[in-house]
Symmetry: C2
Subunit: 248 residues, 2 copies
């Protein structure tokens, strides 16, 4: 199978240290990645980011957004990174070294265009909520005695592996999504919101476990590897159901 | 061929930023490397190195030495790293991704025990003199628009690749060199000094080009992949020659 070349967007979620944002930008530029987004940075942090040497373009075009969903946006592949030290992790972690083979084996591989690679904050990593948006969680295979990497270095190692496997499309340019492409997360979130609405009305979601149920539904939808077309059909069905529930 | 597991020593030559020494130590700990040596650090830099999280052992056992030769010491494989931007580079650069295959193919691979991985200073990289000690120069395959990496990130990527290829021996412990092992650089430098002495006496080395000739001889000796035994024999021949020259 061919290795798909993707347009990669690096997303830093709530980073605390401006040096790490600059370091991430530089590593991206080193390996030909160009799109950087930062979710809810501490305001002073964001102001302090200096153009790292050679990474001026990455820093200049970087954007800060409030919500993770806005950073994921039109991505149709979302990859989370984790040191894997958190206890309640209920998902398999893929070693970074095996990620290229995983992606090649994925049925939707050829339908992917835009990918997002998420990194959590230096202290806490990605939250369970953030992980629920991820198709896959990868772990850099670090030593058990010292598993947690510096953020800038983790970004460098991941970008190196993506470039090494020939997965970085250059030049990026605009990505046009087609019907047969894997659905992007924005469209999937719209469908999920509709689904949740219906499930609320029919009483499927219970107040106590509602949030956990939604995270599970999101994962279920992600695992289906739906196309844009699939999701449009699903949306139509849900809209019709909603209408009927409101007009019995 | 089997991938040789080596005891790796990371050598930072004249680093300027204490953050980079701490970052290098952390990346090493992340990937199971333990031996850090720093050549001629600016004194205040060295004092400021804090134990990076999880890298306390690496930092505690790190040593500062004055000369590169002292840091290379008993290594019988010396690997230099470079961004490859320097003009007068008269040697082939090996992409880091191809380094594991290069090492497996080397006839002396199974006779290697202790390796040194050299990183130059943030501003200037490794000098020609430092490069002359290297069996091979590797380059992290970065984008032409932004080739030069941050020092701490370069160390992280190299350590990741070594661990990825299964080339890092754990636990390190003491390395005992055998006769049939590849010669270490200390012994080779002794032989080279003897050779230079003889060549001076016979008038082979010309004042103008003496230094350049010595760098070439060092490279020639490195390329021969000599064992400890070979170098002992060579040393004997040179000592005898020297004696005869002094006692005609």
């Amino acid at each position: 199978m061919q290795t798909p070349e993707l347009n990669w967007r690096v997303v830093l979620v709530r980073p605390r240290n401006p040096l790490n944002i600059g370091a991430a930008a530089r590593a991206m530029a080193n390996f030909g990645l160009q799109e950087l987004m930062v979710v809810a940075p501490y305001e002073p942090v964001w102001q302090e980011v200096r153009s790292a040497v050679g990474a001026e373009n990455v820093v200049r075009s970087a954007r800060a957004v409030e919500r993770l969903e806005d950073a994921i946006g039109d991505a149709n592949l979302v990859v989370g990174t984790t040191a894997g030290t958190r206890r309640n992790l209920d998902r398999d972690l893929l070693p970074l070294t095996e990620f290229p083979a995983w992606l090649r084996a994925r049925t939707s591989a050829s339908r992917l265009r835009q990918a997002a690679l998420l990194f959590g904050s230096e202290k806490t990593g990605l939250s369970s909520e953030a992980m629920s948006f991820c198709h896959v969680l990868v772990r850099i295979p670090t030593a058990p005695q010292c598993p947690s990497m510096n953020l800038g270095q983790a970004v460098a190692v991941c970008c190196y592996e993506l470039a090494r496997a020939g997965m970085v499309s250059t030049p990026p340019g605009t990505v046009k999504l087609r019907h047969s492409d894997a659905v992007n997360l924005q469209a999937l979130e719209h469908a999920l919101a509709r689904l949740v609405n219906v499930l609320d009305e029919v009483g499927y979601l219970k107040p106590k476990s509602r949030n956990a149920q939604i995270l599970k539904l999101r994962r279920l939808l992600l695992d289906l590897e739906l196309t844009n077309y699939d999701v449009r059909v699903l949306g139509g069905i849900l809209a019709q159901t909603q209408w009927k529930l409101n007009n019995p």
